[in-house]
């Protein structure tokens, strides 16, 4: 009896220890392939790449460790660079000056430069460009990306397996998100799940990776967790204290305070506050029991690794009504795992069922747009679907209806007990070619406007994001509507309430900004930009202002052309501007990319995902601006953003962080920072898990109060809402926060120690930031040379 337990314990400790320090093992080129430059650097300096994949150091007579590799490659590249510069120095000093080089000397210099170009930095390359013709530079040398050292030689940080040498130290891949997925994701070492007692394995994981300020909260309504994210139910609802018992009832979805019925967004009465959009993620291959256009075979999708399969939802009791938190969303179940085009061979212990019968997914609405945190400030409410909750009403894109060449059946569902998710499951779509994209755009559910925008994106979007853009459009089949009243609190583009008739996410583009003019001081005026969607006002707990521009049939008194496009001016000085198609295309690109990142598991760090998508939008706008010869297609705010980003990138980045880390910005948690520091923070926070969870809950409650009160205060000061309405909204927010605070402090949320985001996901987020850096660096280099092509 004791022996098996002991063996289990030993296995558990061994796995846990190896999971903690996976990088101290020997580097293996089979697991983490090296690029050509890295191989060359190693072999020319006496390292031997053995057949088993280890890299042997003949002097130390030992294998190179994984955590040393980053430093080693940086040092070897530095040594090679130094040697080259010394050789150049010898030649230049020996001659009568750089301008009087003989033909032979010049040729030798060129030879040295050409040989070592890959290890030269940006500045050195610039210094020696004059030795080459334009043709040589553009066709050959400029195509060699500068070597990118992530780690400082002085520091020797742990190398990031996901940005291992093959990815970041030398030749950059086309994109972090680029296909083929198998290649892209293969090097990500997924730590083997530690064996756990059945009870622990079935217990919920106490985090929601899409959180901004509180990524590890249980899924309360306040947090607006990602509907795409796998999440668990809270382990145990905090007991309701006396204070909590007197607290106001739980708010509606996403903590939207009670609003007049006319304003409130439709919400499922008994549905979880935050509905998972697994259905939306899974695409057409998700189990469906509603009507479908055709008995479509599953579209080809790449496999989600078996270890990433989450456990089946454990029979966790539903939390008791809490003053703050609503019921958690359901978990991802194994049968939600996408169909793959090339699934890994199922383990012998999991025999494949003959045919996976489509089955309704319990408690999963037809589709749900992505989170507020990642995708905007206001997630749409989840309406009940005609088919009832839990039924996936899939709209199958035409491409998915075509028989996929290699679309095997759904992989067998793993037994729940065996699944202990190391990371959230990822839906990795098979890549879509440009031809597929074009065909889908032409034949898909898009209006002429939508088609034009998508075509523009195909032509002018930055190279690094095109693959995921195509996949998101073709495999995800999002709908596109031009309707600012469905865009949430986003001023330009947002995610609309799902259309029950379609499975895909609906992206709502605003036709133009809603502006209100107010006097500022004695002589100046200010423009206030307002959201059109009633849900945004419901979230603030106030009715929309009675503006003529908000009324559907109110005729404008004047029309003028200006920086906000064609502006319709109404009697009460409210205005409706117009966004140009080019600007709408940029906003659509950002939304599509965020959607794609979320679908494919790249959004563990909201901040990184937002930075990546924003950079793509800015590069797109920069390219369009260059083609047009000006940036007047952008509205004044976006124009200023683009100019700042190009001319004063540092200042622009600081302003972005200042805005995104504020209570209203709600993208960046100051305590966690970027993905790398977030990972560190989480490891430390795990040691005091309960207190960290408590801190997250308290912070979110306080953030919600601050954001709401300060917004209604500003609205009241400008006379857009009445004082009574502002007071009522502020009182309600303050009461909710006080009740939540008292309840949390009276009985802190229980934590079972499984607190934390998936580290592999955060590593992927780090890779996104590295990719943005490369793209931006290339853009700035080209810009400084007078060319503005990304």
């Amino acid at each position: 009896m004791h022996a098996p337990l002991l063996a289990l314990l030993v296995a558990f400790l061994g796995t846990a220890a190896s999971a903690q320090s996976p990088t101290t093992a020997a580097y293996n080129v089979k697991a983490t392939p090296l690029d050509d430059l890295s191989r060359e650097l190693l072999t020319e300096t006496g390292y031997v790449i053995r057949e088993d994949g280890k890299i042997w150091d003949n002097i130390a007579d030992n294998a190179v460790r994984h955590d040393e590799m980053s430093y080693l490659l940086a040092r070897l590249a530095g040594a090679r660079r130094l040697k080259a510069l010394l050789e150049l120095n010898l030649i230049l000093n020996r001659s009568e000056g750089e301008k009087k080089l003989t033909e032979a000397e010049r040729e030798t210099v060129r030879k040295i430069l050409r040989k070592h170009w890959a290890v030269f930095g940006v500045g050195t390359r610039k210094d020696f460009r004059s030795y080459f013709t334009v043709q040589e530079l553009t066709e050959e040398l400029d195509k060699i990306p500068p070597r990118f050292d992530r780690g400082s030689a002085l520091l020797m940080r742990d190398p990031d397996p996901n940005t291992a040498p093959s990815r970041t130290l030398a030749a950059a891949p086309i994109s972090v998100t680029a296909p083929p997925p198998a290649e892209t994701y293969a090097p990500v070492p997924v730590p083997a799940p530690a064996p756990e007692p059945p009870a622990a394995a079935a217990a919920p994981r106490q985090f929601i990776p899409r959180s901004v300020l509180t990524p590890f909260l249980e899924p309360p309504s306040l947090r607006r967790p990602s509907p795409f994210a796998p999440r668990a139910k809270p382990a145990a609802p905090p007991p309701v204290s006396a204070v909590a018992a007197n607290a106001p009832p739980a708010p509606a979805a996403y903590a939207v305070p009670a609003a007049p019925a006319a304003l409130a967004a439709p919400a499922p009465p008994a549905a979880p506050a935050v509905a998972p959009a697994i259905a939306a993620v899974l695409g057409a291959m998700a189990p469906v029991d509603g009507p479908r256009p055709a008995p479509a075979p599953a579209p080809a999708m790449a496999a989600v690794p078996a270890p990433a399969i989450p456990p089946a939802p454990a029979p966790v009791p539903q939390p008791a009504p809490s003053p703050v938190f609503t019921a958690p969303p359901p978990e991802l179940t194994p049968r939600n795992i996408p169909v793959t085009s090339a699934p890994p061979a199922p383990p012998p212990s999991r025999p494949a069922p003959p045919a996976p019968a489509p089955a309704p997914v319990p408690a999963a609405p037809a589709s749900a747009p992505p989170t507020n945190a990642l995708f905007g400030s206001l997630p749409p409410a989840q309406p009940a679907t005609p088919g009832g909750l839990g039924t996936l009403q899939a709209w199958v894109p035409p491409s998915a209806q075509a028989p996929a060449p290699a679309a095997p059946s759904l992989p067998p569902a793993p037994p729940p007990a065996a699944a202990a998710p190391a990371e959230p499951p990822r839906v990795v779509s098979q890549d879509a070619t440009q031809a597929e994209y074009d065909a889908f755009v032409a034949n898909g559910p898009y209006s002429r406007e939508g088609q034009a925008l998508l075509k523009m994106l195909a032509e002018k979007s930055p190279e690094f994001c095109r693959a995921i853009l195509r996949r998101t459009v073709v495999r995800g089949a999002p709908l596109i509507v031009v309707d600012g009243a469905r865009a949430g609190s986003d001023r330009r583009a947002g995610f609309a309430v799902p259309d029950p008739a379609h499975r895909g996410v609906t992206i709502a583009l605003s036709a133009g900004p809603l502006l209100v003019e107010r006097k500022k001081g004695m002589f100046s005026k200010t423009l206030i930009a307002l959201p059109e969607d009633p849900r945004a006002w419901a979230e603030l707990g106030v009715a929309p202002p009675a503006l003529d521009a908000l009324k559907k049939n109110s005729p404008p008194t004047a029309q003028e052309n200006g920086p906000w496009g064609v502006v319709r001016v109404y009697g009460d000085r409210s205005r409706h501007g117009t966004y140009s198609p080019q600007e709408q295309a940029g906003e659509l690109l950002e939304r599509l990319l965020l959607l794609g990142l979320e679908r494919e598991g790249f959004a563990s760090s909201t901040y990184a995902a937002r930075v990546w998508a924003r950079a793509a939008r800015l590069l797109f706008s920069a390219r369009v601006a260059e083609d047009y010869g000006n940036d007047s297609f952008l509205d004044p705010d976006r124009r200023m953003e683009l100019r700042d980003w190009i001319e004063r990138g540092d200042e622009s980045a600081d302003l972005l962080v200042a805005s995104w880390s504020s209570s209203r910005g709600n993208v960046l948690d100051p305590r966690r920072g970027g993905p790398e520091s977030q990972s560190l923070y989480e490891r430390q926070a795990r040691e005091s898990c309960t207190r960290s969870l408590l801190a997250d809950h308290l912070a979110e409650a306080a953030r919600n109060l601050a954001a709401r009160v300060r917004t209604v205060e500003a609205l009241a000061e400008t006379g857009l809402i009445t004082a009574d309405a502002a007071r009522a909204s502020a009182e309600k927010a303050a009461n909710e926060e006080a009740a939540a605070r008292a309840a949390l402090l009276a009985s802190p949320p229980a934590c079972d120690g499984r607190f934390g985001a998936d580290e592999a996901g955060l590593r992927r987020s780090s890779a996104l930031l590295a990719e943005v850096s490369r793209a931006e660096r290339a853009f700035r280099e080209r810009k400084s040379r007078g060319s503005n092509h990304e």
Partner: protein
């Protein structure tokens, strides 16, 4: 009428605006009594010596109400200290440190860089104060202030114009230079002046 409303709202939001809401929440969590869990130690000093992992500099940073953050960007490592939220809830105070040398993509010599930063803009009401030299740990800093108006939040509504303030210090180190900037709401910038100056004076170069 408006002043009465403002007073009411101020009272209601006293919990969030007495300090920064995040700092307050952190403090409450630190001081909470959790059975079986030891209370975390409160920092003994208000300022502590600090070296970022990028080894960009060494210096002193404030502990309470500030959160350090590092990032690798297209133009090298950036160290940031995130401070308190503004009254509008749309802008958090951010202090950033960068180092520019010839290998930085898009590198501009110090004079051109300062000229670019000091360029005024009518659209945003960007105005610049005169340059004032300040002796700091790294040498002679050129400091100036920028005030401009931005509509924040930039993506969401309701979005209001807000005056922002930048303290900027450019500290030459040979041909290279450090750029230290503190961005905050203009309504609160004076609250951070002493912190900015103290941080600036404690700044030292490590390996440059």
């Amino acid at each position: 009428m408006n002043s009465a409303l403002a007073a009411v709202l101020l009272l209601l939001s006293a919990g969030a605006s007495a300090g920064d809401w995040l700092a307050d929440a952190d403090k409450a969590a630190r001081e909470a009594v959790i059975p079986g869990a030891a209370k975390p130690e409160t920092p003994k000093a208000a300022w502590i010596p600090f070296v970022p992992s990028s080894r960009l500099f060494s210096g002193e940073i404030p502990v309470n109400g500030w959160w350090p953050m590092e990032e690798e960007t297209a133009t090298g490592s950036v160290f940031r200290l995130l401070g308190g939220d503004s009254h509008s809830g749309s802008v958090r105070t951010v202090l950033s440190v960068r180092f520019y040398d010839k290998d930085t993509p898009g590198f501009l010599p110090i004079k051109q860089a300062v000229d670019l930063m000091r360029r005024e803009n009518k659209e945003t009401g960007r105005t610049i104060s005169p340059v004032r030299p300040v002796r700091v740990g790294l040498g002679l800093a050129r400091t100036f202030e920028i005030v401009e108006t931005r509509r924040v939040p930039s993506d969401d509504g309701p979005s209001f114009e807000e005056e922002l303030h930048h303290y900027v210090a450019v500290i030459p180190v040979g041909e290279a230079y450090y750029l230290v900037r503190l961005v905050s709401s203009r309504a609160t910038y004076l609250d951070y002046r002493d912190d900015f100056v103290r941080f600036l004076k404690s700044l030292r170069s490590l390996s440059r």
